[in-house]
């Protein structure tokens, strides 16, 4: 994540970007490589929302210790998002309930949305990228 400084495509356009995270961490690389895209998008001063639904809510679990599988623990990056002005983090209530999770279990503060609220948020985006 070397090029996270301020970037500009010259157009001055600000679009609403939603990043939809539906996959668990570690089993596949999408969560990790998805974070890299989110950070770059914020560096372009775009209006960024991160949404966690389905198994994506597992990305935010507290207490992750990945030493035993010999891969990087990137879960602390979620706590650093605020420093890059990425403050709109949403999780899906239904996905949390289905996994027995509450906000207390998560490593960052999030806004919990119902399915309908989530659907409306998605519908008003300019660009939705799913990982």
């Amino acid at each position: 994540m070397s090029d996270m400084d301020e970037m500009d495509d010259g157009s001055g356009i600000v679009k609403k970007f939603m990043f939809l995270n539906r996959k668990a961490p570690h089993g596949t690389v999408y969560a990790l490589e998805g974070l890299e895209v989110v950070l770059i998008t914020a560096a372009f001063d775009q209006d960024v929302s991160m949404v966690f639904t389905d198994d994506g809510v597992y990305q935010l679990m507290k207490g992750i210790d990945s030493k035993g599988i010999e891969v990087k623990d990137f879960s602390k990056t979620y706590r650093a998002l605020e420093g890059y002005d990425i403050e709109k983090l949403y999780v899906d209530q239904k996905s949390m309930d289905a996994r027995g999770l509450t906000e207390e279990d998560l490593i960052v503060d999030v806004t919990v949305l119902s399915v309908d609220e989530m659907a409306n948020l998605m519908a008003e985006q300019d660009v939705v990228i799913s990982f």
Partner: protein, 99 residues
Amino acid sequence: MLHIVNKSATERGALESCLAMATKGSAVLLIEDAVYAVTNGSTAAAKIQAAAADLKIYALGPDLAARGMAGRVLDGVNVVDYGGFVDLVAEHSNCQSWL
């Protein structure tokens, strides 16, 4: 909004998550292994037909044919070719692929 689903509904949760979040009047296009969902007798058939009341359901014809399913498409589902896929993306102001 155009929702694009490419996973078999019997193996993955993508279609169900999509249908739960698609707002009234949205379009849902099924491609690749997702097209099995719109065939007669599939487990997802009832869900698709219920969803068709509020959503426009499309399926990619070349993917149906490649799976031997061209003659088994549920009533109420619109079959499109790649040209129709392009038109759907152009006609909707945004799109989301349920990977």
